[in-house]
């Protein structure tokens, strides 16, 4: 019964999304105010029905209703209840429904928080959102129905959730990632609404900015969690793999970052207009393309036979319609728009333009690396894969100039900046960064001309420069102690995000250079030494969990004769899914991780063990969290709440015909 209610809700949601796509758009063409006013209730109804559908699916999972194929294939009655709930978006069908629900949530939020927007703009934005909803709900309903029953025959037990997904990281990772992906739909809808209206003043950018920030915030957290999850669950201490699934989320992030910066220019200076619109389209297009690449199976290796052309075809057609259509509209409308603002070569505009160039080059690198195997295969040149060194090498070359510019950026004024006033503080910052980086490395690690040194230098430069700039700005605002309180939240946000980037760069460079990794064969009682840490294998014994069996290893870690910690690593066998999982033991400190994973049992008896010491690996995720916090701070800035009020007055599109509706 409950799954049928879910199915019905989804059908209602589909109907509402169709109405949402059509009615306000009709209103915006015909000038029908009532049609425009319908957008808001439609959007909210759409969300309520999608959320009901998702809740019904979760209910079916929670109660192990194996008559639903999706439940039978992805859950089991021995699964703990919280994994039963998260299994509801562990499958293709379920994740699609989650995607739909989140899209509907964003649509409803836009409807609720855009009261101050001109009615016409509001209607167009929600219409575009509605159109995107139509596409995804139709996909969920007709191509991958999560509620499909298997009556009259149904299994007594489910096939269990993929053990890789039975982890806390996986509970939160997909929803966060989707919130981020789908959030760019809002920026996209703003851009398309502006294109339809043909008006590109800075108010457009001001409206779109908080939404973009919110999407970016969640995408950042989602990617970070994914990386953290891979580190803990895949059992070999890697935190980024450059695999197509990851790249699919990284590309929208890069473009989204560029969009955030470009929006700032458009808002503050009224220039870069066509560029910003293009980025808003690109960020969402790449999210869509990510969905296509991951779900259609085009990118899966030659060894995967399990792809589904009809789903892929549908997504491609939808992609073509949405992205192709919007780019066509862009081409038609944008050539009429001209920027009036003037700026000099040394100005914040140009530096932010540099930021965009580097971020887009990085996107191009990821894009080429991800799709090149496909091109290669299509051109009949054989199956290939792109090695990790390609990405690492090119990102290495990109990060250096990017970081140097990033340190400089916040100091430079809009329009025009004279160099002399900056020389003194910047030299100071550079010297400080130099001493800190070299001093730290010389004192604690080995000092050598390597990536670790370079990373620390760049990180210290970016970090110190961000702090120095805040100090200077505070002094300009009436002395340090009073000025610091007058800084806007968005300024703090920017500073924090930049510091986060610095932390990330330091973390990556240190981990890459200074990690010590050993795969060893150990008997009980054996000791290995890494970086001054002595790891002793004290015991290995059989393991029995609710839905798995396996082995567990106990290790003691000593350093300088003192006990550091006790480690417990597991290897789990999941019989229902016939899968093996490695649960690594991690002892985390800010300056290093001790990482042990249990491998196979060898003759002896002895065990293959992975023993790693990974300095600063925490900094990578810490950096990501700081960036996300920065976005959150910026989002709390008062001016976004005020901005829309101003915008209302400014927009000339509010012709007399609509003003009545505005006040209604």
């Amino acid at each position: 019964m409950i799954p049928e209610i879910g199915q019905l809700s989804l059908i209602f949601a589909f109907a509402l999304s169709c109405l949402l796509a059509l009615v306000p758009m009709y209103g915006s063409y015909s000038g029908n105010v009532r049609a425009l006013l319908l957008a808001k209730p439609l959007a909210i109804g759409l969300f309520l029905f999608s959320a009901t559908a998702m809740a019904c699916l979760m209910y079916a999972f929670y109660h192990s209703d194996f008559t639903v194929i999706n439940v039978a294939s992805n859950s089991s009655s021995v699964l703990p209840w919280y994994f039963q709930l998260t299994a509801s978006f562990g499958s293709h069908e379920g994740s699609m429904l989650l995607w739909v629900t989140i899209l509907a949530l964003w649509t409803a939020l836009v409807a609720l928080f855009s009261n101050s927007l001109p009615l016409l703009m509001q209607g167009r934005i929600l219409g575009v959102m509605g159109f995107i909803c139509v596409g995804f709900i139709a996909f969920s309903l007709f191509m991958s129905n999560p509620f499909e029953r298997s009556l009259p025959f149904f299994p007594v037990e489910g096939r269990d959730l993929n053990p890789l997904l039975q982890d806390f990281g996986m509970i939160v990772h997909p929803p966060l990632l989707y919130v981020g992906y789908v959030g760019f739909a809002v920026s996209f809808a703003f851009a398309i609404a502006a294109l339809i209206g043909g008006k590109f003043d800075s108010t457009w950018a001001r409206w779109a900015r908080p939404w973009t920030l919110a999407a970016w915030l969640f995408l950042t957290l989602g990617i970070m969690l994914g990386s953290w999850w891979a580190y803990n669950e895949l059992g070999w201490g890697g935190w980024w793999f450059w695999d197509p699934v990851e790249n699919a989320s990284f590309m929208p992030w890069l473009v989204g970052t560029a969009l955030l910066h470009s929006l700032a220019v458009t808002e503050k200076r009224g220039t870069f207009k066509s560029w910003t619109v293009l980025l808003a389209i690109a960020a969402f297009s790449l999210s869509l393309m990510g969905a296509f690449l991951v779900r259609s199976g085009v990118l899966v290796s030659v060894h995967s036979f399990a792809s589904d052309p009809s789903r892929g075809l549908y997504l491609l057609a939808f992609l073509l319609l949405v992205v192709g259509g919007s780019l066509f509209l862009y081409a038609l409308r944008m050539n009429a728009v001209r920027s009036q603002a003037r700026y000099q070569l040394f100005s914040r505009e140009v530096l932010l333009w540099g930021n965009n160039v580097f971020l887009l080059t990085a996107t191009l690198v990821v894009f080429l690396g991800t799709l090149y195997p496909l091109f290669h295969k299509e051109l009949g040149l054989g199956s290939i894969s792109i090695g990790e060194p390609f990405f690492n090498q090119l990102f290495y070359y990109l990060v250096i100039p990017f970081s140097l510019l990033l340190g400089l950026g916040p100091w430079v004024r809009w329009k025009q900046q004279q160099l002399p006033p900056l020389l003194k503080p910047l030299t100071l910052v550079a010297l400080l960064a130099l001493t800190m980086a070299i001093g730290y490395l010389a004192a604690t690690q080995s000092l050598a001309a390597n990536l670790a040194l370079l990373g620390c230098l760049l990180g210290a430069w970016v970090g110190m420069s961000a702090i120095g700039e805040v100090y200077q700005r505070a002094q300009q605002l009436g002395g340090f102690s009073t000025g610091i309180g007058r800084l806007q939240a968005s300024h703090w946000g920017m500073t924090l995000a930049h510091i986060g980037f610095a932390v990330l760069v330091i973390g990556v460079a240190m981990t890459k250079t200074l990690s010590v990794e050993k795969d060893v064969r150990m008997k009980i009682g054996d000791t290995v030494e890494l970086n001054g840490y002595h790891f002793t294998l004290t015991d290995v014994y059989a393991l029995k969990g609710p839905n798995y069996g396996g082995q567990a290893a106990e290790l003691e870690v000593y350093s300088d004769g003192k006990k550091v910690t006790h480690l417990h690593a597991e290897k789990r066998f999941y019989p229902l899914q016939k899968t093996v999982m490695t649960e690594a033991a991690v002892h985390a400190r800010l300056s290093r991780d001790l990482y042990v994973a249990l491998g196979e049992e060898l003759s002896g008896p002895s065990w293959a063990m992975r023993v790693y010491v990974k300095p600063f690996v925490r900094w990578i995720w810490l950096g990501g969290v700081l960036m996300a916090l920065g976005a959150l701070l910026a989002l709390l800035d008062k001016r976004y709440r005020r901005a829309s009020a101003h915008a209302e007055v400014k927009t000339r599109e509010n012709t007399a015909a609509y003003t009545g509706a505005e006040h209604a």
């Binding site: 085009v298 892929g312 992609l319 780019l327 862009y330 050539n335 496909l374």
Partner: protein, 207 residues
């Protein structure tokens, strides 16, 4: 000029879509047909239903047939049973090669022939039995020699015991005509050489 510039993203995207479209339909299963026109590898394996009876490549010589690799564990294989049974009724000869999945002691699995026979008999009774006989490849040796990478896969074997076609994935009404044409060609070839073929075979065997 300036106007055209704004079309660049659109054009690039359309080009990309074309690529993605062709990528969607490129067949990842194109196989290196390394075994085509080579004889079926030598084997000596038991009949699934009568394990005391050993089968070898020679048993099957002299007729044209499809060698179908399948297993109960594979839903796709089970789904094609119905269509294959129809083919058998049309006079197509089909020999099954039963693919036993590796038994993983780490998961406490063991191989139980009696239970397997029972399950196979039940399944074939339910879904139709397309097979003249079933070769049991418990250690996956013939499967290995044939370069089978999954199930179902089907080989077309001619009267001389040579592999003439290798089909990966299920056989269904959509893709059968192509294979059927090859099958008919091989059958006609066998009829053309007819008795002569058997004689020459006898001649080569005699000395």
């Amino acid at each position: 000029m300036r106007k055209l510039m704004f079309f660049i993203p659109f054009v690039l995207f359309i080009a990309l879509s074309a690529f993605l479209f062709s990528g969607l339909f490129s067949d990842p299963r194109q196989h290196g047909s390394a075994l085509l026109s080579k004889p079926l590898p030598a084997f000596s394996l038991p009949d699934l239903m009568e394990p005391q009876r050993m089968l070898s490549a020679d048993h099957l010589k002299g007729k044209v047939y499809l060698l179908n690799v399948w297993g109960l564990w594979c839903p796709t294989c089970n789904a094609e049973l119905g269509f294959l049974t129809e083919l058998r009724q049309q006079g197509i000869e089909i020999v099954g090669l039963y693919y036993v999945q590796p038994q993983d002691s780490a998961f406490g699995e063991t191989f139980d022939l009696a239970a397997l026979q029972q399950d196979v008999a039940k399944k074939l009774a339910e879904q139709g039995n397309p097979y003249q006989l079933n070769i049991l490849d418990e250690k996956r040796s013939l499967i290995f020699d044939l370069g089978v990478t999954g199930a179902p896969e089907t080989f077309l074997i001619d009267a001389q015991g040579q592999i003439r076609a290798h089909h990966v994935g299920d056989i269904n009404p959509q893709n059968w005509p192509a294979l059927a044409a090859q099958y008919q060609a091989v059958v006609q070839e066998a009829q053309a050489t007819g008795a002569g073929g058997q004689q020459s075979e006898g001649a080569t065997n005699a000395p």
